[in-house]
């Protein structure tokens, strides 16, 4: 076990899951509220937005799900950025550092926790959507959840760069909000990325959200994973780059 570079990952992850579950508001906010919002929006607008023809994909059919999943993924990242900052400010990170734990282990544990709860939320959302929304289309919940997780992972790595740079916990949330939410606007959800002005087009290609949206849409349509090699590549490059930067810039105190 000594050689295993992520020693303590399992123990730390399990612990963070338990600790997260002890904060009822956090669980309600990050798991149940998104599902509820999805359901309410879906029931209110679903009928009008779905195309008349059966099986035709309207807003609810695809983009509401993608939009909700992206929102949830970003809010998971934001909460992670905030948690890391609070841990840093409280001296928790420093105390963990004076052990054989490595930075990557601590970051990975938090990523795993966030991915787990993201998966639970998306899973619930698709199940709820299938059951309660007036949309009669097959929902590929496994593929969609997987696509959301892959996208979230990439956005998370960007979040870690922000967490590494945020001076204090008070700044972490606003900085995260300012950087992460505008990504949704140029993600291709509202207007295809190709139709954006040149500058925004480039910006969109540099942020993980555009690839994540394309991948999630594809998963929802039931596309083959192979058709989305470019999305995977984009997400992987961003993930690798951001992880390297985060590990390098990470501050313990």
């Amino acid at each position: 076990m000594t050689g295993w570079p992520l020693r303590g990952l399992g123990a730390l992850t399990w612990l963070e899951i338990k600790i997260f579950m002890r904060e009822p508001l956090g669980v309600i906010g990050s798991v149940f509220v998104p599902v509820l919002v999805f359901l309410v929006i879906g029931r209110t607008f679903g009928g009008q937005m779905t195309g008349a023809a059966p099986g035709e994909r309207g807003l609810v059919g695809v983009d509401l799900a993608v939009f909700a999943a992206l929102l949830m993924s970003i809010s998971a990242v934001l909460s992670l950025v905030t948690i890391i900052s609070i841990y840093r400010e409280g001296g928790i990170l420093k105390r963990l550092r004076a052990t054989p734990l490595r930075p990557l282990t601590i970051l990975s544990a938090h990523v795993l926790v966030k991915l787990l709860f993201t998966a639970i939320t998306v899973g619930m959302m698709t199940i709820v959507g299938k059951r309660y929304l007036p949309v009669d289309i097959p929902i590929p919940w496994f593929a969609f959840t997987a696509a959301t997780l892959v996208g979230t992972l990439s956005i998370l790595s960007l979040g870690f760069v922000l967490a590494s740079l945020a001076p204090t916990a008070r700044f972490a949330q606003p900085i995260g909000t300012i950087v992460l939410y505008p990504m949704i606007g140029i993600s291709g959800l509202f207007k295809p990325v190709e139709d954006l002005p040149a500058l925004l087009h480039v910006a969109a290609r540099l942020t993980p959200a555009s690839y994540a949206v394309s991948l999630m849409r594809g998963a929802w349509y039931g596309d083959s994973w192979l058709d989305h090699g470019a999305d995977f590549a984009g997400l992987a490059i961003i993930f690798t780059l951001c992880t390297l930067l985060a590990v390098r810039w990470f501050r313990w105190e």
């Binding site: 020693r7 303590g8 002890r22 841990y87 001296g91 928790i92 054989p100």
Partner: protein, 305 residues
């Protein structure tokens, strides 16, 4: 003399224009409680964190258990135990979970429950961190510092913010760590703590080590003057006491004769005079200067400011 387990030579570290540590040189011997003492902001924590490998010094040589803290950080983390100043844990982590996590990080951890029993917090095993009192938190941090059965234990301002009773209990624990053969390196701005607890202390002020010795040795060398209070009704002895070399002043204050002496050598002569004269004495008290006095003398300012 035991071989040194920590060797620090020419250690320097600056933050901008501030010299946090200025060419500090000292060593800590196997099995002693060594204290780095000085006011807040003197450079104690920075020095300790350099030795622990948590901070990179600007200059100087460091050796802990024969390892270089910067290069062999991982090997070192396995053999030292660390309690950090003002550290926190996750608010909702329980005592048992913290011990469990720490245990999982080391190859041969001690029995966590046993450790909690020894530290007197076994009853709090299922309590969440945020519900613990200051003393209980410190006990937990000591437990975490000891879980890997380290050779050297670092304790940074361990009793700050604790009430006197909790403080005394913690001192007892620190002594028991030494009695198990471990070396303890601690920092404190409480001179009483250093005096009661440490085998040797280094006085640090504005990043510079001013002197190193046992607390008694420092007091004897820098503040040798003593006030001796002798309860006796015999006024005749006053004249004889004034004859003793090294005595500055002898006065009667109520039931006692109070004597100001310049050095500790006076003590033997004084006892001889009292014995020769067969002076009836009902009480005998020496007022010894403290490390606070030593600090004031060496640095020109009080440790409390």
């Amino acid at each position: 003399m035991q071989p040194p387990v920590i060797e620090v030579s020419g250690l320097s570290k600056a933050y901008g224009d501030t010299r946090a540590i200025d060419a500090a040189t000292f060593e800590v011997r196997q099995g002693e409680i060594f204290g780095l003492i000085g006011p807040n902001g003197a450079g104690k924590t920075t020095t300790m964190e350099c030795i622990e490998g948590l901070r990179a010094p600007d200059a100087g040589r460091l050796s802990v258990l024969g390892l270089n803290p910067l290069k062999d950080g991982k090997a070192l983390q396995n053999r030292i135990g660390v309690q950090l100043q003002e550290a926190q844990l996750q608010k909702r982590i329980t005592v048992k979970e913290a011990i469990g996590l720490w245990s999982s990080l080391y190859d041969t951890p001690l029995d966590g429950h046993q450790l909690l029993v020894q530290l007197g917090i076994a009853g709090k095993a299922n309590a969440r961190f945020m519900t613990l009192s200051g003393g209980q938190k410190q006990r937990l941090f000591i437990a975490l510092a000891l879980i890997n059965d380290p050779d050297v234990v670092f304790l940074d301002e361990l009793t700050t913010g604790l009430d006197p009773q909790a403080r005394r209990a913690i001192w007892e624990l620190v002594r028991s760590i030494r009695d198990r053969g471990k070396t303890v390196f601690l920092t404190t701005h409480l001179m009483e703590e250093a005096e009661r607890l440490c085998d040797r202390v280094a006085i640090i002020d504005h990043g510079r080590i001013v002197d190193i010795d046992s607390p008694a040795g420092l007091v004897n060398r820098h503040c040798p003057e003593r006030t001796i209070v002798i309860a006796t009704e015999d006024d005749g002895v006053i004249g004889a006491l004034r004859e003793i070399a090294g005595v500055d002043r002898v006065t009667r204050e109520g039931p006692s004769v109070v004597m100001q002496a310049r050095s500790i050598d006076v003590m033997t002569r004084l006892i001889r005079v009292l014995a020769d004269r067969q002076t009836p004495v009902t009480d005998f008290r020496t007022i010894v200067p403290t490390l606070e006095d030593v600090f004031l003398k060496l640095t020109g300012h009080s440790v409390r400011q």
